[in-house]
C-alpha cells in the first residue's frame, strides 16, 4: 500500500496528471530516448534551448538525445486532418539549463491533441491545463494570450515584419516606454501607439479584458471566438487570466497560447498553445494544440515542504531479540506508515516520534 512517505511530491503530481489525462481519453505515448539530429536541426527555433546532445549510432547516423517531445510526436504520428489523436507523455528531455549553462535531464509531462482541432478541443486543452495547475497548487494562474488579437493590433500599426517583431518583443516585456520610443522612431502615430499600449497593459479576468478589447479594437474579427473560449472556462474563476505579453515565436504558434504559474515558483511551470504553423512547416495538414508541465521548475515549491524524514524511529539495544524486533517494526509500520529501526538516532534526522524497544 502506498503511504505519504512512499511517493515524493513530484511523483504524486505525475500520477495525478496521468490519471487526469487518461480520464479525458488521452493515450500514453511512449518514445525512445533519441531521434535523428536532423529533426531538431530543422526546427531549432522551436526548441527552448538550441544546444543538443548528439552522438553517432552504430551505422554512423547522427542522433540526438531528445531535447523536446512535441517534435517527435508530430514526426511519428499519422497526419489525420479529419480525425483526432489525443496523447499524453511523461518523458525525460535533455537541455541546457538557462541558469547553469549545463545540460540537465528534465522530467516533462504534457498532452498533444492533433487532427481536426476545433473550438471544443481548444477549450478542453485549456481546461486540462487549468486542472493540471490546480493539481500542483491551490494558488495558480493560467495566463492566456490570443495571438490573433495581437497580430491584428500590430497590423494596425505597421506592415513591416521587422517593426512587428520588435513590437511583439516589447509587448512580451510589458515595455510600454519602449513601445512609445519605437513608434516615435518609426513614425507611427500616437493614436495607434496608444491603442497598442492599452492592449499590452490589459490583463486580468476574461470578461473585463474582452470588454476592454471590444472598446479598443471593435472591428477585430477574433473577439467573439475568444469570448466563447473564455466562457467555456468560467468554472475556473480567478485562475484564468487574459493578457497580451506573449514572447514566443509566431513562426510556430498561432491563435491561443498560454502559460501557467503557481504561487512560490518564479517562472512558468506550464506552457502551451496552438501550433498549426509548426505542423504546416513539418508538412502536416492537421491542426494541433498541446502543453507541457515543467516538473523541474517545481523543485522550489517542495523544498522544505516535508516535515519529517521518517515518522517513527525505533531504537533497539545490542541484545534485542530479532524475531520480536521484526514483529514490532512490522506492527509500527502498519500503524504509522514509516519506521526506521536502528541503535542510535543519526544527527539531523527529522522524525515525529522515538520509541525505545
Amino acid at each position: 500500500m502506498l503511504s505519504e512517505f512512499t511517493l515524493r511530491d513530484d511523483e504524486k503530481i505525475i500520477f495525478s496528471l496521468r490519471s487526469l489525462y487518461e480520464k479525458y481519453g488521452y493515450e500514453q505515448y511512449k518514445m525512445v530516448k533519441f531521434e535523428e539530429y536532423d529533426l531538431y536541426a530543422k526546427n531549432k527555433e522551436f526548441l527552448v534551448s538550441e544546444n543538443i546532445i548528439t552522438f553517432n549510432d552504430t551505422s554512423g547516423k547522427l542522433m540526438a538525445l531528445k531535447p523536446d517531445v512535441t517534435l517527435s510526436i508530430i514526426k511519428n504520428t499519422e497526419d489525420d486532418p479529419k480525425g483526432i489523436h489525443k496523447v499524453y507523455y511523461n518523458e525525460n528531455v535533455y537541455r541546457v539549463s538557462k541558469s547553469s549553462k549545463n545540460y540537465r535531464e528534465l522530467m516533462q509531462v504534457g498532452i498533444e491533441c492533433m487532427g481536426d482541432v476545433d473550438g471544443y478541443c481548444i477549450s478542453e486543452t485549456l481546461s486540462l491545463a487549468a486542472m493540471s495547475l490546480a493539481a500542483i497548487s491551490e494558488r495558480a494562474v493560467l495566463s492566456i494570450t490570443d495571438l490573433d488579437v495581437i497580430s491584428y493590433a500590430v497590423s494596425l500599426l505597421t506592415d513591416s515584419s521587422r517593426v512587428a517583431a520588435d513590437l511583439l518583443a516589447l509587448a512580451g516585456e510589458k515595455n510600454l516606454h519602449g513601445i512609445s520610443a519605437l513608434c516615435e522612431k518609426e513614425g507611427i502615430s500616437e493614436d495607434k501607439c496608444a491603442l497598442f499600449r492599452s492592449i499590452v497593459s490589459l490583463h486580468g479576468q476574461s470578461n473585463s479584458v474582452i470588454e476592454s478589447l471590444r472598446r479598443i479594437i471593435p472591428a477585430c474579427p477574433c473577439l467573439d471566438l475568444l469570448a466563447s473560449t473564455a466562457q467555456s472556462l468560467e468554472e475556473f474563476g480567478d485562475m484564468i487570466e487574459l493578457d497580451f505579453t506573449y514572447s514566443g515565436d509566431l513562426n510556430y504558434y498561432n491563435g491561443i497560447v498560454f502559460r501557467g504559474y503557481v504561487d512560490g515558483v518564479p517562472t512558468a511551470v506550464l506552457s502551451g498553445g496552438q501550433y498549426d504553423r509548426l505542423m504546416e512547416k513539418m508538412g502536416r495538414k492537421s491542426r494541433a494544440i498541446g502543453f507541457a508541465v515543467y516538473l523541474d521548475e517545481l523543485e522550489g515549491l517542495f523544498r522544505g515542504a516535508k516535515e519529517y524524514d521518517v515518522d517513527t524511529v525505533l531504537i533497539y539495544g545490542e541484545n534485542a531479540p530479532r524475531k520480536a524486533l521484526t514483529e514490532k517494526v512490522r506492527e509500527l509500520t502498519a500503524q504509522y506508515g514509516s519506521v526506521l529501526a536502528l541503535k542510535a538516532v543519526p544527527e539531523k534526522l527529522r522524525y515525529r516520534q522515538k520509541i525505545e524497544f
Binding site: L176, H177, G178, G204, Y261
Partner: protein
C-alpha cells in the same frame, strides 16, 4: 509566499536616489535611513520589503523570484536578457553604451576587429547587426586600458560624461544604445501581486513625471 512586495535596490548612489523616489511615492521604510549594517528592511504597514544588492545582480534576484520587483540598468537587461517585465524607464542613471577607440582610429575592414568589453552580448549583437567580423575580448574592468596597450582595437563600454575616455586619449566612435535605470518585475510575481506592483509602478511614474 508572503504578501509583502520584495524590492531589490542597487547598492550605491543610484540605489539611494531610487529609494528616494519610492519614499516620495508613498512606499517609505524609515529603518533604511538608520545607520546600521542591515541588508533587509521592511515596512509592515505598507507591506513592502527592501534589500540592497550588487547592481549587476538585481536582474537575477528578480528573474529568480527572490525579489518581486527591482531597479536595474538597461545595460544589464540588454546583456543578460533576463525573462522579466520592464515596467518603467526611471529616467535616472542616464548614460550610453558606446564604441570608443584611440583618437584618430580608422577601422581596417580587411581585418577582424578586436573589441574589448565587459558587455560581450551587447557588442556581439551590435556588430552582428552591421555585419562586422569581430573578436571579442571579455574583460571585467579597466576596459579603457585595452586599446592603449594594444590588447584591442576598440572598446564597447558605458560612457557617462566621457571624462575617463578623454583623459586616456580615447573618443566615442558610435553610440550603440542610450542607457537608464528601469523598474523590472518578475513575471510570476506580477500575476500574484499585480495590484500592489501596478500601484507602485503607477505612483513612481507619477513621481518622476
Amino acid at each position: 509566499m508572503d504578501n509583502f512586495v520584495n524590492v531589490a535596490l542597487p547598492k550605491g548612489r543610484l540605489g539611494e536616489k531610487v529609494y528616494d523616489i519610492f519614499e516620495k511615492s508613498g512606499f517609505e521604510c524609515p529603518s533604511i535611513r538608520e545607520p546600521n549594517r542591515k541588508l533587509i528592511f521592511e515596512n509592515e504597514e505598507k507591506k513592502i520589503r527592501y534589500f540592497w544588492v550588487k547592481p549587476s545582480d538585481v536582474a537575477i534576484y528578480v528573474e529568480r523570484g527572490a525579489a518581486d520587483i527591482g531597479v536595474a540598468g538597461k545595460d544589464i537587461l540588454l546583456e543578460y536578457k533576463p525573462d522579466v517585465f520592464e515596467l518603467l524607464d526611471l529616467d535616472m542613471g542616464k548614460c550610453r553604451m558606446a564604441v570608443a577607440a584611440p583618437k584618430g582610429f580608422r577601422d581596417d575592414r580587411s581585418r577582424t576587429l578586436r573589441v574589448a568589453t565587459k558587455f560581450s552580448n551587447i557588442a556581439a549583437d551590435y556588430y552582428n547587426s552591421i555585419g562586422r567580423d569581430i573578436d571579442i575580448i571579455h574583460l571585467n574592468g579597466s576596459i579603457e586600458i585595452a586599446p592603449i596597450l594594444g590588447l584591442s582595437d576598440v572598446i564597447v563600454d558605458i560612457v557617462e560624461t566621457g571624462a575617463t575616455l578623454k583623459e586616456n586619449d580615447l573618443e566615442v566612435l558610435e553610440t550603440i544604445v542610450p542607457i537608464s535605470a528601469r523598474l523590472i518585475s518578475n513575471k510570476a510575481s506580477f500575476r500574484f501581486k499585480s495590484d500592489m506592483i501596478e500601484k507602485i509602478a503607477g505612483c513612481i511614474a507619477e513621481a518622476i513625471k
